[in-house]
Amino acid sequence: MALDKNGIAKRIAKEVKNGYYVNLGIGIPTLVANFVREDIEVEFQSENGVLGMGPFPFEGEEDPDLINAGKQTITALPGASFFDSAMSFSMIRGQHVHLTILGAMEVAENGDIANWKIPGYMVKGMGGAMDLVASAENIIVAMTHTNKNGDSKLLKKCSLPLTGVGCVKKIVTDLAVLEVTPEGFKLLERAPGVSVETIKQATEGKLIIERDIPEMDI
């Protein structure tokens, strides 16, 4: 069965390693923090200016001066720090942040990503996404495999305006885990109970299946 948002987040959490500084995007990526192993040391960065971001505050303890990049009220953990926007992007551009997890509308088989604009219909802006994808060594995309109309979001070529070129390394969807290789999308794992055939049907870009594909361990 296809994973729900929490399932995707849970699988991505396994990619978060000891000692990582991690930037989480808005949406599914935000949920990843809930599933990271407690026996490892990890700090979450939010590009509006906090490192060491903690969980949402208890009711009545919300602080308008303490929010994340999604404008949600948050808390700061012991050891946290606040900084200005230029310094925040020094952390990102300077590759001090180890892992970036973000959502996408489309990913192409060469690693191009589109997630900020649908011409003539919706323009929200790129926020920090262009800086993040242009700079990060390690980028994981969290998204559904297909859009609301059932069309594949893993394409030969993005149809929407790009956010970055050739930058996505790994994709975790509700159906599968895939690696972006020079040859195309390499299928690594499938969601529990989801067949390789289902994933093939839902993938427009080139899909590489080299071996028996194991189920995700989540």
Binding site: S46, E47, N48, G49, V50, P55, F56, P57, F58, E59, G60, E61, E62, D63, P64, D65, L66, I67, N68, G70, K71, Q72, T73, I74, A76, F82, F83, D84, S85, A86, S88, F89, I92, R93, D112, W116, K117, G120, V123, K124, G125, M126, G127, G128, A129, M130, D131, A134, S135, P161, L162, T163, G164, V165, G166
Partner: protein
């Protein structure tokens, strides 16, 4: 001590005219210069170019200026929370330049620091880089981005003193420090304006040299955009 204190928001915004380019601090509604925005609404100055990461929400922040059609052009990175903004943009009434958030911050800092331009990897290969100079460094492509030029910068700090020294709180810091000294005149509004000597020089985030006018703000609403909590 060079005293930067002005008595009122009216005095702080004297000289603001139609057609000017303004920088406004804040991320979402956090750390926005609420008092200066209210005064801009009162002054009813028109044809403004506003450099600000976001465009407020309907009825608050820069949404107030949008509602009165005072803004000709917005320079922002993310504008998704404002229906009036989207309507004006899609209908062509409002000119919008969307740029990556890190580039926005750095274009402020470049203006503050005397750099005319800089190279960044952000936006390479996208429409953001169209028409811009690109260059390869160590096998990677970068885009040339220029420092902003602005007439006024409006920032909001937690504490300040009469010398213009500023201390920010939490993530309300965001773009505010980067905009100080990045325009011809920087106006700082603070929740608490103190006499000189009250702030520990070790704790100052922005030295007063970057601030031209400082005033005691009032009636901060500090609206929360996305109130998210967990259960006890």
């Amino acid at each position: 001590m060079i005293n930067k204190k002005v008595a009122s928001v009216e005095a702080a915004l004297s000289g603001v005219e139609d057609g000017m380019t303004l920088m406004l601090g804040g991320f979402g509604l956090s750390g926005i210069p609420e008092n200066s925005i209210s005064q801009l609404v009162k002054l009813n100055v028109k044809g403004l170019t506003c450099i600000s990461n976001n465009a407020g929400v309907d009825g608050f922040g820069l949404g107030l200026l949008l509602h009165k059609r005072q803004i000709k052009k917005m320079v922002s990175s993310y504008v998704g929370e404002n229906a009036e903004f989207e309507r004006q943009m899609l209908s062509g009434e409002l000119e919008v330049e969307l740029i990556p958030q890190g580039t926005l911050a750095e274009r402020c800092r470049a203006a503050q620091s005397g750099f005319p331009a800089f190279y960044t990897p952000a936006g390479y290969g996208t429409e953001v880089a169209e028409g811009k100079e690109t260059r390869e460094f160590n096998g990677k492509m970068y885009v040339l981005e220029h420092a902003f030029k602005a007439d006024f910068a409006f920032v909001k700090a937690w504490k300040g003193d009469e010398a213009g020294n500023l201390i920010f709180k939490g993530t309300a810091r965001n773009f505010n420090p980067n905009m100080c000294g990045a325009a011809k005149i920087t106006v700082a509004e603070v929740e608490e304006l103190l006499p000189v000597g009250s702030l520990d020089p070790n704790q100052i985030h922005i030295p007063g040299i970057f601030v031209h006018r400082i005033f005691q703000g009032s009636n901060y609403e500090k609206r929360i955009e996305q109130r998210t909590v967990r259960k006890k």
